[in-house]
């Protein structure tokens, strides 16, 4: 994007390697700013760069970017409607054994409630690339929550991300599984296994957390009458919360919200922690079956 558009620039907080921007730094040093370990300043600088006519991408570990600089995100970006894109890297529990200080399980909950801030959680590297290109044309602040745990590509090569749209990646009318980020791959695995048991699980990719594709969610609730949300984040307030708010008001539907249950993670790798908190395709299946049997 930087080669096509001379206004694209990057701001990091000593996070050159963790944001994988070493190439950018060496090719476009004049458009690369490192503020050191200073997240509040980093986001403010982004707002200033946008004021001056640049298209800044402010990148850092999501845990530090969203927590430390939340007032800047609220005021300098959301309230000010600054055209700044935030890339929260290594999100969720990607940092595994480094512990909860380095996890961002609350970032979706915090960011989705900031007015004017779009929130995107790509499911695979194809969607990340597409969402990045989309972000360049989006005028206004946007938070892209980028993962680091490898997943297979769940989209076709010609997939194009659209803000506010939740594509159906697997059809079904017995239950709908609403997932984003890492969880989409696991939701699809669960859907395939459920199909073999004669259960039609519709899988929606909720990469666009805000704005949310309310039409698709309401249709899924109406048509399947059972909703399971699953996210790599706290069960409270994130994707599950957003869906529950909508459904409670417009289409009350039996729901299960899968996520991290109100605790900070114990020691363990990202893979271990996802298992530990039941964020697996096997547990998604179990949850669906339990929900179906409930009726």
């Amino acid at each position: 994007m930087a080669s096509e558009n001379p206004n694209v620039c990057a701001v990091v907080n000593d996070s050159v390697s963790s944001t994988k921007l070493k190439n950018f730094q060496s090719k476009y040093p004049e458009r690369f700013v490192n503020v050191g370990i200073a997240e509040q300043n980093m986001v403010g600088v982004g707002a200033g760069l946008a004021n001056g006519g640049m298209l800044p991408y402010v990148c850092g570990a999501s845990c530090f970017l969203t927590a430390r600089a939340m007032e800047q995100v609220k005021v300098d970006l959301g309230y000010s409607k600054s055209n700044v894109k935030l890339c929260g890297m290594s999100s969720g529990m990607a940092y595994g054994e480094l512990g909860p200080t380095h996890h961002s399980i609350e970032d979706i909950a915090w960011t989705r409630i900031i007015p004017n801030l779009a929130v995107v959680v790509p499911a695979d590297s194809l969607e990340t690339a597409s969402a990045m290109r989309y972000s360049l044309l989006h005028v206004g602040p946007m938070f892209l929550r980028i993962s680091r745990v490898p997943v297979r590509n769940v989209h076709a090569d010609d997939y194009a991300f659209t803000l506010g749209k939740a594509p159906v990646l697997h059809p079904g009318n017995d239950v709908a599984i609403l997932a984003n980020g890492l969880m989409v791959e696991r939701a699809l695995d669960a859907a395939h296994d459920l199909a073999a048991q004669g259960i039609g699980a519709r899988v929606l990719n909720m990469s666009s957390v805000k704005p949310m594709d309310e039409e698709a969610v309401l249709a899924a609730a109406r048509e399947t009458r059972r909703i399971v949300t699953v996210e790599e984040g706290l069960a409270a307030g994130g994707l599950g919360g957003a869906v529950a708010e909508l459904l409670a008001l417009q289409q009350p539907t039996p729901m299960r919200i899968m996520g991290v249950p109100g605790v900070f993670a114990p020691t363990g790798s990202a893979g271990f922690l996802l298992e530990h908190f039941g964020l697996t395709s096997a547990n998604i299946q179990r949850t669906v079956l339990e929900l179906i049997q409930q009726r």
Partner: protein, 282 residues
């Protein structure tokens, strides 16, 4: 750029801003009189003394100088000087803090022409100013960036994060102005958090420091128009009096957000030598 401003006129314009701000605060029954009054001459010098290269007809002209009012709570003075400079009609000042008004308690760039940043929480303006200065550098454009902070405001760490970045990137197109009125909300700054020696701190952060009397228009204009110190951002420490110009408010902590009564407004008008708010002294 005006080659030799009329400093006596600037002083009178500063007093007009003072009375305008106090009147707005009185009408709204809310405002920050002390800080409005300490900042009035700084603002007059910037906007009416030929310092800022801005065009009220084109508030978003890309080559404009940027001024960021980091001490956003002093919106009474800030809005008054923006109106005086022609960014919007004087009449609109009467809508200060009224329901759905463009003149919110703290400035909103999406509501009001001339506002660059939505400040208010303190400590936000300097990082934004650094970003602006970096942007000018990237675009090879020659506009300058000015940011006005309070002194209590400098207790926020984000200012110093930004100062370090300004130094590291040698942002000589950046001028930080500190309204050093030595008071904050509850008390004198030095009773709250010892900040002196302040000039030494800025110098240690790599800034070229100019320390002046903050109610002297000539000293202000000359400091702001001083050629940049090559490779270094500038910090102008303007030594001011909170509540300056008005006997009952000068240097009184309670006037941080004191609201003047009608009688106090009349006394202030007399002391400031302002007979009418309908026209800015020219």
């Amino acid at each position: 750029m005006i080659t030799s401003p009329n400093y006596e006129l600037l002083a009178r314009q500063g007093n007009w801003i003072r009375l305008s701000a106090m009147t707005m605060t009185h009408r709204a029954a809310l405002g920050h009189t002390g800080g409005d009054l300490s900042a009035s001459d700084i603002l007059a010098s910037l906007y009416l003394g030929g310092v800022l290269n801005v065009d009220p007809e084109q508030p978003t002209w890309p080559q404009r100088d940027r001024f960021i009012m980091s001490k956003g709570h002093c919106s009474g003075a800030f809005y008054s000087v923006l109106a005086a400079r022609g960014f919007f009609p004087l009449e609109q000042l009467k809508s200060f803090m009224k329901p759905l008004s463009m003149l919110n308690g703290h400035p909103d760039r999406n509501k009001l022409p001339g506002v660059e940043a939505n400040t208010g929480p303190l400590g936000h303006g300097l990082p934004i100013a650094v970003g602006c200065a970096l942007s000018a550098r990237m675009r090879k454009e020659s506009w300058r960036v000015f940011v006005l902070t309070g002194d209590g405001e400098l207790q926020e760490g984000s200012n110093w994060e930004a100062a370090m970045t300004a130094n590291h990137y040698s942002l000589d197109n950046l001028v930080v102005i500190v309204d050093r009125n030595r008071l904050q909300q509850g008390d004198f700054t030095e009773n709250t958090i010892r900040m002196d020696p302040l000039a030494a701190k800025w110098e240690a952060f790599g800034f070229r420091v100019i320390e002046i009397e903050g109610h002297n228009p000539q000293a202000l204009v000359e400091a702001f128009q001083a050629s940049s110190a090559k490779g270094h951002p500038t910090c102008v420490i303007a030594n001011t009096v909170k509540g300056n110009g008005v006997s009952f408010a000068a240097n009184k902590p309670a006037w941080h957000h004191g609201v003047p009564t009608v009688e106090q407004l009349e006394l202030a008008a007399q002391e400031l030598g302002v007979t009418s708010l309908d026209e800015v002294p020219r």
